[in-house]
Structure formats: C-alpha cells, structure tokens
Amino acid sequence: MKRIEKKHPLAIRWFHWVNFPVLSIMIYSGILIYWAHDIYTIQIGQKVFFQFFPDGFYKALTIPFRLAQGMALHFFFMWIFFLNGLIYVIFTIVSGEWRHLLPNRHSFKEAWQVLLHDLYLSKKKLPEKKFNGAQQIAYTGIILMGVGSLLTGLVIYKPTQFGWLTKLLGGYEWARAQHFILTIGYVLFFCVHIMQVVRAGWNNFRAIVTGWEVVDEKEKEESILVDGVREIIKKDKDND
C-alpha cells in the first residue's frame, strides 16, 4: 500500500530555495571582489598545483574590473543571506525540526555506514528516516559554515570596529583566507549534494519542492523485516 507522507515543511522549502540563488549571487559577487587581489593557490613548497583562478575562468565569466559592482552586490545580498539563515535556525528550533537535523551520538557511526554504502562498499540497507547521520552532519555543518562566513565576512568588512573578533580569527588577512576556504567548501558541498540528489531519485527530490513523498508501506515493512532478520543472524553469530 502506497501513501503520501509529509516530509519537508513549507518554511524549510522556502529557506532552501531562497538560499540557493542568494548564495550563488554571494559567490559570484565574491569572485568579482576576489579578482582584485587573487593570491590563493594550492601549492606544496614552490610547486603550484592550482591557482585561484586561471585567466580563462575570469574571462569566461567576465569577472575582471568589476570590483565596485561586486562589493555593491555582496553588501546588498549579505543581508538576505544572513536573515534567511537566521530565520531558518530560529524556525528549526521553534518547530522542533532540529531533532531531525542535529547529529546525535549515533550519527557519526551511521554516517560511516552511509559513506560505505554510497561508495558501494557495503550492501547493508540504510536506516529509513528523514535524515540519516551523514545528512545530519552535513546539514548542521553547512549552517556552522554559514556562521563562519558571516563572522569572517564581518572581520574583512569592519576589522577595526570588530577588532576583538579580528584578533580571535587570527588577523585580517587570515580571516580573508578563511572566508575564501569556506566558499570553496560550499562549492564542494553543492557538488556532493547534487550527486546525492541524483542518486536518491525523483521521489526524494520532489519532496523539497512539494513537501511530501510517496511511501510504500510494503517496501518499508519488508525492509524492516530484512533488517530484523539480519539483526537475529548477527546476534546468533555473536552468541556462537
């Protein structure tokens, strides 16, 4: 028997889909700013493996000489990024959604199982719940990264007025590097997120648009049964 089951509240879907374009604009305008002093590389000693960013990349996106525009966009959309994130956190606390989202003492072990499963190293079925351990860690981590971006951003923006924070983060230049690294983190998060969404399939993706997903009771029961049998076999083995 199949049925429709509520998954993501409307508010969370709003936060998610507002954040996506806003964060994109923040990254884009961030590149417009970064171009004016693009010093970061991946290197070991003198050997440079990658330079952020190659000229072709700038040219393709028409980045050069748009620092003023980048700053104006950045200091406009930062408010939407901040408010959207803040209201999201308040919402998750007030609505109780945090219970699904916050990692608990089982999350790390579970995240390991998810990792093995997703790399095709384990065939064990994953627990059927709203967010598994890996998701809990990822979705809480990304919020902490957001807080990090706001704080490092504030230090780059007003290093003297927030001198205590500048000091705490290791100085003005180091704060700029942290701000940059966090942004690279979002891009990596995005890549993994998209891969996982593609793998999880339509029913899962639809839920972040519609709010609900189709649940197959029979499949669910079977999977619980299979897990139950596995558990018994495992216990038997342990007893032997």
Partner: protein, 268 residues
C-alpha cells in the same frame, strides 16, 4: 483485484495532480527570481551603482557609522614589521608637476558659505612645528591586500585643535558639541583631479594624521609629498596623496571612488 487496481490508479492520479500543482508553483517562484534579478539590473545608476544597491550601501553606512567609535584603534606594530617600500597604487591627481618648496595647504573653514569663504593658508614649516605623531599599522586597500606601513606627521585632531577647524563657531572642536561640528571634511589634490570626503568622526580619529614622513624619511613624491592623509580607519582610497585643499562641510563632499560605484563610507 479490480478494486485494488482502481485505488492504485486513483492514487497515481492524485500524486500526479499534486506534483503538477507544486511544480507550477515552483516554476512561478523561479520566474519571480529571474524577474527580480532582471528588474534589479534594469534600475538606473546612482553614483556608479544600481540604485537599489546604492540605497543599501548608504543604509549600511548609516548603521556602521552609528556603531563606529574612535576609542577602537587599529593595532600598532613595531618598526621592524613595516615594509621598506609600501605599494604605490594609483597616481590620480598627481600627474602634473609640483613645486614642493612653494607648496602650501589651503584650508576652507566652512565650504557651505562660499561667499564668506574663511580660508587659511598653512606652510609645510608650520605643519612640521606641530607635535609629530607616528603610526605603524596594517594599511588596507579596497582591492583586498594589506601591508604594515610606517608613517609620521601631525595628528589631524591636533591640527584641527591648533587652527580651530571643523566647527561652525570657529572654536576648537569638542566631541560633546555635536551640533557645532561639521559632518564632513573634504580633501582635494592641487589639480582637483582626485578628491575624497570623510565623515568628521573618522578624520578626528586619534590615529588619523596629516603625513609628511614615511619610514622615518621625508614622504617620497609617489607617496604624495609633501603632505598626504593617513587614516587607518578607512580603506586606502581615502588616504589622499598630495593634499592641495582641505575643507569642512555639512554636505557630503564629492568623492572620486564613490562616483565610480564604491561605498562612500569605506570605513574599517
């Protein structure tokens, strides 16, 4: 059997209907975002920035200048940390020849009433006779780089105190008499081609100096000899080189980079 098929068929229909409805909303949402972005980029420009962005830049300025306090200082460094050759970044307003021997600073006490322009001419010797202050700080460029640099000159607040500048009454400036203080100070190069405006609170900051020395030696020509502004609470764009005129006003003075889309305040 037939009944189950029927209900299964019904369920599929319901799912399809609900999905289509949600997706239409979603498309509408994406449309609104695209429309919003296009609308933003069609807006008229205000001082080199799209009007809505300019409005927010000005609101940010209001917020952060209210939060500003001149008790917060830029960290100072030992002499050994200062770079030998500070970066030279731009020579707007310095392309014409200048005779530093005959140079004098023109000060306009009140630029809001040009008819009665009460001016003052100060020579380099007079400036040097005032107490000397040194500041070694992390100079920050709006482009993103920063350098620890060492400068010396007369503290702007000492200069204003000595010549009784920045006030409508003509008395020495008093932080507690806000109404008597002008809102802004403006600076221009002698040729008038580079110009900045700074809120009075920032120019009166204890680390702001009218600078005539770099690394313990006379200021080089390419760093703005004979006199430049060093204002650690602002980005480099406000550290005007080769000052020709200094004036005080309640109206926002013209600002070179503001006109080119940057935020006016540029405060750190």
């Amino acid at each position: 059997m037939t009944e189950e098929n029927f209900s299964e068929e019904n369920f599929k229909k319901t799912v399809r209907r609900k999905t289509i409805r949600s997706i239409l909303w979603f498309i509408l949402f994406i449309g609104a975002l695209v429309f919003g972005w296009k609308w933003l980029n069609r807006q008229p420009m205000d001082a080199g920035a799209l009007k809505p962005l300019r409005t927010v830049l000005s609101a940010n300025e209001k917020l952060f200048s209210a939060f500003y306090s001149d008790s917060r200082l830029e960290p100072e460094y030992p002499i050994s940390s200062a770079v030998r050759y500070p970066k030279v970044n731009g020579n707007y307003g310095m392309k014409s020849a200048l005779d530093t021997a005959t140079w004098k600073l023109l000060v306009v006490r009140n630029a809001d009433v040009p008819a009665t322009a009460d001016t003052l001419v100060v020579s380099m010797d007079e400036i040097r006779s005032l107490p000397r202050t040194e500041v070694i700080f992390n100079f920050k460029c709006i482009e993103g780089w920063s350098q620890i640099t060492r400068w010396a000159g007369v503290k702007f607040s000492d200069f204003a105190e000595h010549y009784r500048l920045g006030t409508k009454s003509g008395n020495a400036p008093d932080k507690n008499k806000k109404d008597d203080l002008f809102k802004y100070a403006g600076l221009r190069t002698p040729d008038g081609l580079y110009y900045v405006g700074v809120d009075l609170a920032s120019i009166m900051h204890p680390q702001t100096i009218l600078c005539y020395e770099m690394n313990g030696k006379p200021l080089p020509m390419n760093q703005g000899a004979p006199l430049r502004l060093i204002i650690p609470v602002k980005y480099g764009v406000k550290h005007l080189k080769r000052i020709g005129t200094l004036f005080f006003s309640d109206a926002q003075p013209p600002d070179f980079w503001y006109e080119r889309g940057y935020d006016y305040y540029a405060g750190l």
